[in-house]
């Protein structure tokens, strides 16, 4: 059984581990770290934080798996109605960098029906090789056949890393594949890199609520799997004419069997723009005061050609539907311009928008945390400033 211990001779009493522990399990006694085992979750944060290797996490050595046959970086390319989703290009862009560092091929995996042409085109987005499974049963996503095909591919070709979108499809699929192939999986990575010597995928993501970043590895398991949210990575540039080798795979019919049956796919046209795609977002929070005041933001967004976002409290107050919520429990957005009106800037909100290029914050409380991330801050009453902004932008944009 795994355990953790402090090497007292190495511990300097620097308290870095105390600060690192998200569970309050470490305290100092006699200038030495003491771990409260009742609180410790063996998360390893303190081990990573200690500069003196004074904390050791002991893990039972499982049967050693031969990792050498595993090579290449794979990207699961998501398609809907035969159209490759932009998340796939974002992953190919990131995957290309990782494959180059490791000196291996970047391979795209595409499952669908009548996708041969689209498969060949993935070369133009940086793929060296494309594994294509083309079958009517793969036309639209279903857990069972997609899992079976991907597991088969992994077992046959043994990639060392697989990247997948943190989308509805990606999250459902890759979680199943990770279990079946006994692989490590890290969700919602915001940064990826590789340790070339150890051939490790270094997966960085917010942890313990978001203001601490953790880098996660899966040293003894292959493939190493990671999901990445939409808009976090940059799309691979189009290189017209670049070719990829397409390997078309087919499997016995039972591989495509599905216990679930997809009866219908319904598209709901939303009147407002999907916030994760918008370049400009005007967002409002509790500070807007009322539903009527909140509606002003729609006008400002319209003038700017942007979308309306919201903090959780504005959604909870029923001023706007949940699909507009930005933050930890809503969407991550990376627009060019984010205007936060009456949003105090709780960490849960900041997580979802702090990568925006330019952030403008309007709030009546000068100490609101939102000002700490804002490019431009305005202290004042949103209900006076928003109408003034609408007027000025209208003039500037000749509307």
């Amino acid at each position: 059984m795994a355990s953790i211990k402090v090497h007292l001779e190495k511990c300097t009493g620097c308290t870095l581990c105390v600060k690192a522990c998200a569970f309050g399990a470490i305290h100092m006694a006699d200038r030495k770290a003491v771990i409260d085992m009742a609180k410790c979750t063996l998360c390893g944060a303190c081990v990573a934080a200690c500069k003196f290797s004074a904390i050791e996490l002991e893990k039972a050595a499982g049967p050693k798996k031969d990792l050498t046959p595993y090579k290449d970086v794979w990207v699961f390319c998501e398609q809907k109605k035969g159209v490759i989703q932009s998340i796939s290009y974002e992953l190919l862009g990131e995957g290309r960098k990782l494959a180059d560092k490791l000196g291996v091929k970047l391979c795209a995996v595409l499952l669908g029906h009548n996708m041969k042409e689209a498969a060949a085109k993935l070369g133009e987005r940086g793929a060296d090789k494309v594994y294509l499974a083309d079958h009517p049963a793969l036309k639209a996503y279903q857990d069972d056949p997609y899992t079976a095909v991907l597991v088969n591919l992994v077992e046959e070709y043994k990639p060392e890393a697989i990247l997948c979108g943190a989308t509805v499809i990606g999250r459902s699929l890759i979680s199943r594949v990770a279990i079946k192939t006994n692989a490590g999986l890290t969700a919602d990575c915001t940064g990826l890199d590789v340790d070339v010597k150890e051939r490790l995928l270094l997966q960085t993501r917010p942890a313990f609520g978001g203001n601490i970043m953790a880098t996660i590895i899966a040293p003894n398991h292959r493939p190493q799997m990671a999901t990445v949210r939409h808009k976090v990575m940059k799309e691979a540039e189009l290189q017209p004419g670049r070719l990829a080798e397409v390997v078309t795979k087919s499997y016995p019919e039972e591989t495509y069997a599905s216990r679930t049956r997809l009866l219908d796919m319904v598209e709901e046209l939303s009147a407002t723009m999907n916030i994760s795609e918008a370049d400009i977002i005007v967002a409002g929070g509790r500070g807007m005061g009322s539903k009527e005041n909140f509606a002003q933001l729609e006008e400002l967004a319209k003038v700017l050609g942007g979308a309306v976002g919201a903090s959780r409290s504005a959604v909870d107050a029923d001023w706007i539907p949940y699909s507009h919520q930005v933050g930890q429990t809503g969407k991550t957005v990376v627009p060019k311009l984010y205007i936060a009106c009456g949003i105090s800037g709780q960490i849960q909100h900041l997580i979802g928008m702090q990568s925006s290029k330019t952030i403008v914050a309007v709030n009546k409380d000068p100490d609101a945390p939102i000002f700490k991330v804002a490019t431009y801050g305005i202290v004042g009453d949103v209900n006076e400033i928003v109408p003034a902004l609408i007027k000025e932008f209208k003039r500037a944009l000749n509307k």
């Binding site: 509805v168 279990i179 942890a207 991330v373």
Partner: protein, 260 residues
């Protein structure tokens, strides 16, 4: 109908504050609550019971204090509760967690529907639900926003997608992860809370689960943390002051490159 809900206790994020000096979370006095997404799973489980009859068993893996969230779940209408707790589970990542929960579910006397929240608010991985269904080798539908039809053989549900929703038919037993849109959770009832106070909660250790010890806890977890760091806080920018019209004019000037 045997309905199982898997829940997690998480720190109550609504009262999480950040230490401005160390830029770390202040956890003192932060209470543990039911993962907000799991509240929808509990509500849906209780509604399924009201619709089809049967019983709801709530399961969690966690430290001994996680008993509190199980009691809360009973207060919300669940009938029985199981706490899966053992030092041997410490260090579990989503692989080991879903394995452990799957072992616990197999030990229960049968199941028709397993419900999970779509993800936990502290980890945000959305991996444990699908992990459980894979370990149990049952079909799943993730991101369910409506269970439109259900009988003891099959269900018809709506799965939320980025563009709208899919209508999916699935045979039982199966696992659903549910989204916020599926219902509005009820408030606890006093009678439920009193029942919870005296309710007996089954406590299972690793030994009770008949699980493969190598697949539990840190040992059974492929992933581990190698580094933690505090992201560089984005520097606060320029403050603009003046009358409303003045600040609006100045801001428009500053943003010309972004907007025009």
């Amino acid at each position: 109908m045997n309905i199982i809900v898997c829940i997690k206790q998480v720190p109550n994020t609504t009262d999480v504050r950040i230490d401005p000096v160390t830029n770390t979370l202040i956890r003192d006095g932060v209470e543990s609550v039911i993962n907000p997404f799991d509240a929808y799973a509990i509500e849906e489980a209780v509604r399924l019971k009201e619709r089809c009859g049967g019983k709801v068993t709530v399961v969690t893996m966690g430290p001994p204090q996680a008993e509190n969230v199980l009691k809360e779940a009973i207060g919300l209408g669940c009938d029985e509760a199981v706490l899966v707790s053992d030092r041997k589970f410490a260090g579990s990542d989503t692989w080991a967690t879903s394995y452990t929960l799957a072992c616990a579910i197999e030990k229960l006397e049968g199941y028709d529907v397993i419900l999970c929240g779509k993800q936990a608010s502290d980890g945000d991985t959305a991996q444990v639900g699908p992990g459980i269904s894979t370990h149990l080798d049952i079909p799943q539908v993730t991101y369910v926003k409506k269970i439109s039809e259900i009988n003891d053989k099959a269900a018809k549900v709506e799965r939320m997608t980025e563009e709208g929703y899919d209508v999916v038919e699935v045979p039982l037993p199966c696992l659903f992860t549910v989204v916020k849109e599926i219902n509005t959770p009820r408030m606890p009832s006093l009678k439920g809370m009193m029942r919870a106070k005296s309710a007996k909660i089954a406590k299972w250790t690793a030994a009770d689960l008949e699980a493969d010890p190598a697949a539990l806890g840190l040992d059974g977890s492929p992933t581990r943390v190698v580094k933690i760091f505090t992201p560089e806080a984005r520097k606060g920018g320029e403050m603009i002051s003046g009358t409303c019209d003045e600040v609006a004019k100045e801001l428009v000037e500053l943003l010309k490159g972004e907007v025009v």
